[in-house]
């Protein structure tokens, strides 16, 4: 956040570096069931982000002392590939990925009906193959699709989106440059049906008005992303239905 720079991230006509308006999302593409061994899987391309998610379980939780006799535990593991960023990332868990794994696990746990699977564990592996700002919410969005595709009961889907402050203006879905040189970044995870917030973090400073503007922008965008999730899931089955109808 806030590294001084001469780059003008947003111009007088509210056009951003990559030609988007302030409330425009980057293109999102989701595919499901891309891995045969996993119980559910998905692949998301969100702007320059490329993320693969695999879901296993519910299965008996190990080590046994981690089991919860009242509910299943959701274990998400966020991992960045060494080649996912400009300079080689040292492989293995670090401070940042441990934190993201924790917040994503908790966001998913709010949607999954964990009380149906006492003593069990649901593993969610989020592998970032190419990173381009907003990987945690892209990973969360894809993870929720993969969990649904695995047939695990959920109350709602989980949708992630970011907003931020760039050149003193509030914009949606920050790109890499805006993330690095902007003034604030606000990733959020939402249950689109009930508008409940399951993940919220903030980097940088926003005034109360700016914060409200940013959250309302995110709330609107999540409806669009939820629609993309729905299409990703139903796509495969609808083609078969059409073939049959002919």
């Amino acid at each position: 956040m806030g590294t001084a720079s001469d780059i003008k991230l947003i111009d007088e006509n509210n056009i951003r570096l990559d030609g988007r308006g302030p409330d425009e999302l980057r293109p999102i593409k989701i595919e499901t069931n891309v891995l045969n061994r996993a119980d559910g899987s998905s692949f998301i391309e969100w702007g320059g982000n490329k993320i693969m998610v695999a879901v296993y379980g519910p299965r008996e939780a190990y080590p046994k002392h981690n089991q919860d006799i009242n509910k299943a535990i959701v274990k998400a593991r966020y991992n960045m590939a060494a080649f996912s960023v400009d300079e080689r990332k040292r492989p293995g868990p670090d401070r940042r990925s441990v934190e993201i794994s924790k917040v994503v696990s908790e966001a998913l746990e709010a949607a999954i009906m964990v009380e149906l699977f006492p003593r069990a564990q649901i593993d969610v592996f989020i592998e970032v193959l190419q990173a381009d700002a907003g990987t945690r919410i892209a990973g969360l969005t894809a993870a929720s699709v993969a969990v649904a595709a695995a047939g695990i009961p959920m109350r709602d889907m989980v949708v992630g989106c970011t907003a931020g402050k760039v050149g003193n203006k509030i914009v949606l879905d920050l790109s890499k440059e805006e993330d690095n040189f902007g003034q604030a970044d606000l990733p959020m995870g939402i249950l689109p049906k009930s508008d409940r917030v399951v993940l919220m973090q903030m980097d940088g400073d926003l005034s109360v008005e700016e914060f409200e503007q940013a959250t309302s922008m995110i709330m609107k965008a999540t409806k669009r992303i939820a629609q993309i999730q729905r299409e990703a899931l139903t796509k495969k089955y609808e083609i078969q239905q059409k073939e049959q109808g002919e």
Partner: protein
Amino acid sequence: MTETKQIVIPGDEIERTNEKVRNGAYKCGQDKYCSEYFGIVQRNEQFIDIVPFTGPYFPRKDDKIIGKILEIGPSMWTVDINSPYHSLLHMNDTPWRTSAGDIKRYLAIGDYIYGKIMSINELRESWVTLKDAGLRKLEGGHIISIPAPKVPRIIGKGGSMVNMIKDATGTRIVVGQNGLIWLDGIPKNIMIAIDAIKMVENEAHTVGLTDRMEAYLESKKGEIDGNSK
């Protein structure tokens, strides 16, 4: 006209008038029900069910299942029943005269059994029994697995689908409620039966599947061994 079944994803509200919502939905407001699963909506006059496309198997009492022996204790076998939790089979629940400490003579690790869920508690610990008509150790044959929610489709109304595949291919088939299927017969015929089952699995959410299966099995008739036309 082909009837298309409605597809829902988790959180979708289910439209209803007077029907009762039975499986796969939760209460999400005053007199409102939302789907828990990514699946299809199945309606009749009384009930609405959400049938997921795939998912884990939940053991229920009296389900007949196919299990694999994982571990042997002094008086119990641990059985993998294709569910999030393992199940147990006690030596007294078998038809054999067993004595503690020497039970691996009857069932060894890796053997398959056709058993019944005897009891299950709120911790999802379950026990299997082999003491009922038709329950046994499955010797020889071939095991395949399908998602447990698709089992009713494989069986068909009153067993019509699986009986059709059995008769047409001349194989012995045992379908477990947990999604494991045991097939025995001539290898070539087994392969045809597996193809037929995979076809049902892939098209389980479509309408008019029995007719297409009949046509498919008819087209395979020439390839089946020991089946005079």
